[in-house]
Amino acid sequence: MLIGIVILIEILISYLLQSAVFPFFELAGAVPDVLLILIVTIAIYKGQKAGMLTGFFAGILMDFCIGEVIGLFAAIYLFIGFLCGFAVKIFDREDVLIPLGITTLAELVYCLIYYVLLVLLQGNLNFGFSFVRVILPRVVYTALISIVFYRIFLAIHLHLPERVREEERI
């Protein structure tokens, strides 16, 4: 229960970061996907179910704030949380490279799904342009930022009071 509240607060802060703070620090027109980094971190650390739920709620927030319909981002993020959750088996708190690789892949998957569902189907068929102009900068920027944010999110969860963490371990 408590851990849920902690994660919800993290989701809100991540969303605020990516929608209001990072637009000031755009790289090649791209804004990093902090929510995705959070989802990947939770999924790697806590497993598939936590990853899925985090993705689901993060997606719902996105849907309500910028989405046209409710549930689309939720479904994409949910799926990403599920996939990344497989990595819980190789989780090692000292390792940085595997989370980095997973985040990069996850962002790529996210961008491709987003492209197919929201851009391709709207009639924009120029994939090469979209890839170079939108997807690539976003993936690279997210990967770069994830090195820092993964550490921060993980540190938050590792340093939570025993009482809060204990519950999830039942």
Binding site: L16, A20, V21, F24, Q48, F64, G71, A74, A75, I170
Partner: protein, 285 residues
């Protein structure tokens, strides 16, 4: 009680949770698409919670960027100052010429019946607080909403040119779709020749600094540097708002119409403040 429930949860395999949540998502997509109108209050209320936070962060953000700008080297500014002084001289001269032109212009306008200039429309100033961060669409959120009398389809201008149109409003925020967005079509008109055209946004071309103008009649005598304004026949845009200047006029692939490139007068990379015209275009039902 809760503990028990949790234990029960644990035995649930992740893939079933995935199926359940995906199903839930699909349901939500279906219902939110079906009952789109009824969704607005919920969206609005969530926006009302998130927007003040974004607003606060934004003020801090612009404060920091302003400070960064201050550190810009003094030399650069001095050189710019020199340059500007020279420009002032040139402009003063130009201004004298233009002032005499305005007399002609106002007389011609009356004849032309463009009627009121858009400067006379009632306007509300707003500042940009967040953007759609997915990269494809050029829409952004500003910090004024229905509390300030803003409603859907109001026109948004900045720097004396058309920025876009309000697509959604909450109590204290509204979303604006820029004319450079891929999904944006604005009906325009050449100020000099009154030929109508469609101004179509394009993210791809905007990287090179222009958007496209389509459906110009083959007979239209259109040349480079002609001004395009919003047309009288547009159903959402008020007439006479400056959009930009055309160049590279050519006959399009279908050979039925001409197309051209258009440089918007608004600098879309650096929009901070916009003016929302609180007068809606009268609809002919």
């Amino acid at each position: 009680m809760r503990r028990k429930q949790r234990k029960h949860n644990i035995s649930l395999q992740p893939k079933y949770l995935l199926y359940a949540l995906v199903f839930l998502c699909l349901l939500m997509i279906y219902f939110s698409y079906r009952y789109r109108d009824k969704l607005t209050p919920i969206k609005t209320s969530i926006g009302n919670v998130v927007t003040p936070m974004q607003n606060g962060i934004n003020e801090i953000g612009s404060y920091i960027t302003d400070k960064f700008d201050l550190f810009q080297s003094k030399k650069e500014l001095l050189a710019e100052n020199e340059e500007l002084k020279k420009q002032i001289e040139a402009l003063k001269f130009q201004n004298d010429v233009l002032v005499s032109d305005t007399y002609d212009l106002s007389a011609l306008r009356e004849l032309y019946d463009v009627g009121q200039n858009y400067a006379q429309y009632p306007m509300v100033a707003a500042s940009v607080i967040s953007k759609d961060t997915n990269g494809y669409y050029s829409s952004f959120i500003v910090n004024k909403g229905s509390n300030d009398g803003i409603t859907k389809d109001m026109n948004v201008i900045s720097d004396g040119g058309l920025v876009g149109i309000v697509t959604e409003t909450g109590a204290n925020w509204s979303r604006i779709r820029a004319i450079i967005d891929d999904t944006s079509y604005a009906s325009g008109m050449f100020l000099k020749t009154s030929d109508t055209c469609d101004v179509h946004g394009s993210l791809e071309h905007m990287d090179n600094g222009f958007i496209t103008v389509e459906s110009i009649s083959l007979q239209a005598q259109v040349e480079d540097h002609y001004e395009v304004v919003t047309s009288q026949i547009s159903d959402k845009y008020l007439p006479g708002i400056m959009i930009g200047y055309v160049f590279d006029v050519e006959i399009d692939a279908s050979r039925m119409a001409k197309m051209a490139k258009l440089i918007p007068v608004v600098d879309f990379d650096h929009i901070k403040n916009v003016l929302i015209i609180t007068k809606l275009k009268e609809k002919t039902e």
